[in-house]
């Protein structure tokens, strides 16, 4: 239960990070919070030749909130995002989802961007990035570019980031007007990986009728998936919308796998239950936001 030997560097700028990654080649791995990477090293499931620790790079710990959305730097800890009322005001899913990430001790160290770059389909923030139609900024020696979540996640623990490159931030677009969100997950023990989870957004029109209902799920697909459930509830008044129909639609759309913790059928059942519950909550929130707006 000890990591295999590796070389260690802790550069102090993104340029230096890329220099080390370039020099060390494919065996190099970026270390941010390490709450997923270090267990992989200790269990010898990964054995990089070099760890490039970005914790001493200044400026990556910023949360920038604007009317368009929230930009989260690569060294922002889950606890930091959870504690940001400003971020939650722009995109409430950020606070709701991070509250479900593991335990306080893990949230103190683990980073939001790191968990996205880790691309675990049971991750809370991967689902939120997808649902909000977010993107990440990938820095390479040739320059930085924004990569949409659709082009980022390739499979479990696999992203499109290749070669010397480091994800320096993630951008979560702001919640639209007349919209509400909800997040819920089921796990065997508090703070464990979710057996199933749901993040949803509901949008209403000026007459409080549903115009959009979308959901993303945790631990359901190989990569985050966003399902548009609007067809089941479009045009229905918020107080009388048929959320059960939306849940039924979701159950038919997902294709979960079974494992030690839950069968595929049980996960599908949870998708329905969580969808109905969270959509109703999100709709109530959308309506109450309209009243206070």
């Amino acid at each position: 239960m000890k990591p295999a030997p590796f070389g260690y560097a802790d550069p102090t700028s993104v340029g230096e990070v890329l220099d080390v990654l370039t020099a060390e080649g494919d065996g190099a791995k970026v270390l941010a919070g390490g709450q997923s990477l270090l267990p992989l090293l200790s269990m010898r499931l990964a054995a990089p030749t070099t760890l490039v620790d970005i914790n001493r790079v200044p400026g990556l710990d910023r949360i920038d909130c604007g009317p368009d959305g929230v930009r989260v730097g690569a060294l922002v800890r889950h606890a930091g995002l959870l504690g940001s009322a400003e971020a939650a005001a722009v995109q409430p899913l950020l606070g709701r989802a991070t509250a479900n990430v593991a335990h306080p001790a893990i949230r103190n160290r683990g980073t939001t961007v790191g968990s996205i770059a880790h691309a675990d389909p049971s991750g809370e923030m991967t689902a939120v990035l997808a649902l909000t139609d977010g993107s990440v900024t990938v820095a390479t020696p040739g320059g930085s570019s924004a990569v949409s979540w659709r082009d980022f996640f390739l499979g479990p623990l696999e992203t499109s980031v290749q070669g010397p490159a480091v994800v320096v931030d993630a951008f979560f677009p702001a919640l639209a007007e007349r919209s509400g969100t909800a997040f819920a997950e089921i796990s065997r023990r508090k703070g464990d990986y979710a057996v199933c989870g749901a993040a949803v957004v509901v949008t209403l029109d000026a007459d409080r009728r549903v115009t959009a209902a979308r959901a993303a799920y945790l631990s359901v697909g190989l990569v985050p998936e966003v399902h548009d459930l609007t067809d089941a509830v479009a045009g229905q008044p918020v107080d009388a919308a048929d959320w059960a129909a939306a849940a039924e639609l979701a159950r038919g759309r997902v294709d979960p796998d079974g494992d030690l913790h839950a069968s595929a059928d049980y996960r599908r059942l949870l998708v329905g239950t969580l969808t109905e519950r969270t959509l109703a909550d999100a709709a109530r929130e959308a309506a109450s936001r309209m009243e206070t707006a």
């Binding site: 239960m1 000890k2 990591p3 295999a4 030997p5 590796f6 070389g7 260690y8 560097a9 802790d10 550069p11 230096e16 220099d19 080390v20 020099a23 060390e24 270390l31 390490g34 709450q35 270090l38 267990p39 200790s42 269990m43 070099t50 760890l51 620790d53 914790n55 606890a79 593991a102 335990h103 306080p104 001790a105 893990i106 103190n108 160290r109 023990r189 508090k190 703070g191």
Partner: protein, 171 residues
Amino acid sequence: MSTDTERTISVVINGVPREATVPVRWLLSDALRHEFGLTGTHVGCEHGVCGSCTVLVDGQPTRSCLVLAVQVDGQQVTTVEGLARSDHQGGHVLHPIQEAFRECHALQCGFCTPGFLTTIAAGLDARDPAVEITDEEVDELVGGNLCRCTGYANIKKACRTAAAAMKDAAR
């Protein structure tokens, strides 16, 4: 920039500046136990699940098995040995959660206890002591740590007892 396989680190541990040269692959838990002789930090699962090895890094509860020793260079680490305060007469005053563990019989074998104590102490110290602690808060305080002896009931009772003691002390 070169890569290293060994580094000299300076860490303030329980208020005392310490320095050591450690292999970079050493976990903080390795350095605390083997280099600094602080065996109060217990290593259970060594992959972040059990919480036994939790210490405070710059005051924040952190799994010492999920941080490399080189990463805490220049930082402050508090282990279970550092929770009690000196009473300036050569003795020590236990943290309220330590007292409460004793009073409530919140441990049996004691293996998980250091991780519970550091986590709960930091959580209690960070909250407003004047506010009554809720069951949800207690669950959050202990939820990241595993105990195989107690069934948690007495640990949760200790949390409430310590919170009450801190409330009385704050008056």
